[in-house]
């Protein structure tokens, strides 16, 4: 590639980023103008939503990372529940998926049941969760797990089933121990699929995090704050919660993508997409 086309690529990339953010800025500006003109109590202006977000959550002291008491008692518990649910889904989904993917027999037994279970919308299981788990955190985390585990589990299973035959034969020839086969070959070979599942599970767990906070027995959380504000007709807070959820989803996904880029550098490299 010549320097000229390289320079042009950079310009094009820069222009791409600019266009994306420019479009967002235009939409927000139009929203601002439109809501100010309309004076509807249901559609506060973005500037009002932003200032509500600031006062609600981010105007705390510097020693507490500018988080207010409201943020630590609502946003943080929400994120902790989501992180716990996602972490359990990841560990259980990967562990189970590796077993399922490498054992034809277990797979044959369990797959029909899993295919059945995974299509059940998690919200419909809430009555069951209420009976089985304690109201509150336990049930909320269970709801997140029941939703977030499937993409990870099914992707891991699929990935572990399709490990290259030659890689497994290499492991056999060189007599790798069972642990080494899993840790040095099957798990890394499955990682691209695991990340694909994790991306889906991340957005699902965010959805279920909010949903689970709309259930009885909830005392805090972003979802709780949202319904609470709704019952008080505090629309700026409702909108603030919605925008916060959007930002959280975006940021968490960006973090996951950054981790994936690092961990799976070999994957992109070996496919010749980015050496």
């Amino acid at each position: 590639m010549s320097a000229g086309t390289g320079g042009r690529t950079v310009v094009r990339l820069g222009a791409g980023v600019l266009h994306r953010w420019l479009a967002l800025a235009v939409v927000v500006a139009a929203w601002e103008v439109g809501t100010r003109a309309a004076h509807s109590p249901f559609f506060p202006a973005p500037s009002r939503i932003t200032s509500r977000m600031y006062h609600l959550w981010f105007s705390g002291p510097a020693t507490r990372l500018f988080l207010t008491a409201d943020a630590t008692s609502n946003v943080v518990p929400s994120l902790l529940r989501m992180a716990t649910g996602l972490a359990v889904s990841l560990v259980a989904g990967v562990g189970l998926g590796l077993v399922l993917g490498r054992s034809e027999r277990v797979f044959a037994y369990v797959d029909p049941a899993f295919q059945f279970a995974r299509v059940i919308p998690p919200p419909t299981l809430v009555p069951v969760f209420i009976v089985v788990f304690k109201l509150g955190t336990q049930m909320q985390i269970a709801a997140i797990i029941f939703s977030a585990i499937w993409p990870i589990l099914l992707n891991t299973t699929d990935g572990a089933r399709s490990v290259d035959r030659l890689q497994m034969e290499t492991a056999r020839v060189y007599k790798l121990s069972a642990a080494d086969r899993v840790l040095k070959i099957i798990f890394p070979a499955t990682l691209p699929k695991i990340f694909a599942g994790l991306r889906l599970s991340l957005s699902l767990s965010l959805i279920l995090m909010v949903f689970s906070e709309l259930l009885p027995g909830t005392a805090n959380g972003i979802g709780f704050e949202l319904t609470d504000a709704q019952s008080r007709s505090d629309l700026p807070t409702v909108w603030a919660a919605i925008v916060l959820l959007g930002i959280l989803g975006y940021v968490l996904n960006a973090i996951l993508l950054a981790v994936e880029r690092r961990v799976l550098a070999w994957h992109r490299g070996s496919r010749g997409t980015d050496a």
Binding site: D164, L166, T170, V173, K184, W266, S270, A275
Partner: protein, 249 residues
């Protein structure tokens, strides 16, 4: 060292191998040559213990092969699939040594020696996919060497590289052999089978069976140009070529 006795195998009605007999002494390099689809790879997989032949048996070092024998190294044709893309070159080479229970430092030292032997010391920290095809196949060879196998199986190892790299790799193979390592070298290239071999076993078209077992009476020191000019080389190549083409002595 290696004894293949009356080995036969069929896949769903298609007879791939029939009555294959071959004896290989310790330290020998025997080429197995034959037309495509004659069951060469099947035979090698039976020797490696990766599959069991339908008939007959394979004996390695006095013991019948039922699982992968100890002290076995294999170099596959498809290096890009056999090397692990998530490990760098050194860790790929050191991986088989884990089973020997050597400490990490020792494994790395052994990997470094093997990489040195194939001329890849400078690439130890790179990843397989950053290397050319010929270099990747050198890594596979280094991985087999580091393991210090008593039996090395090579399945069309130079089939996927360009002609010049192929000659380099053939010479590399001739350099690293010895020290009691027995090598079974499968190829469909007639010149190559003669150039690297102490003996050439010719397999017939499917169902594959050994139709000739020819000693290669060439000097130990071989050279890509002068060896190929020798009358014995030319004669052998023609003989093997006729056998492969006509399928009968």
């Amino acid at each position: 060292m290696l004894s293949i006795r009356e080995v036969g195998h069929s896949y769903a009605g298609h007879v791939a191998l029939r009555d294959v007999n071959l004896e290989v002494a310790r330290g020998e390099l025997v080429s197995i040559v034959g037309p495509s689809g004659c069951g060469k790879s099947t035979l090698l997989r039976c020797v490696a213990g990766l599959m069991r032949p339908g008939q007959g048996r394979v004996v390695v070092g006095g013991a019948e092969v039922s699982d992968v024998p100890d002290d076995l190294g294999v170099v596959f044709q498809d290096y890009s699939r056999s090397l692990l893309p998530w490990l760098n070159v050194r860790d790929n080479v050191a991986l088989p040594l884990r089973r020997r229970g050597a400490p990490k430092e020792e494994r790395r030292a052994a990997a470094a020696r093997a990489l040195d032997a194939v001329g890849l010391s400078a690439s130890a920290r790179r990843y397989p996919w950053q290397l050319s095809g010929g270099m990747q196949q050198r890594v596979s060879i280094a991985r087999a060497l580091a393991f210090r196998p008593s039996l090395l199986l090579m399945d069309e190892p130079f089939g996927s590289v360009d002609a010049q790299t192929r000659e380099e790799l053939e010479d590399l193979l001739l350099r690293i052999r010895g020290e009691g390592m027995t090598i079974l070298f499968v190829t469909h290239d007639i010149d190559e089978s003669v150039y690297v071999g102490d003996r050439v076993a010719v397999l017939s078209r499917a169902p594959g069976t050994v139709i000739a077992d020819l000693p290669v009476d060439l000097p130990v020191e071989r050279d890509q140009i002068t060896t190929r000019e020798l009358r014995e080389f030319v004669r052998l190549r023609a003989e093997v070529g006729r056998l492969v083409r006509d399928g009968a002595p």
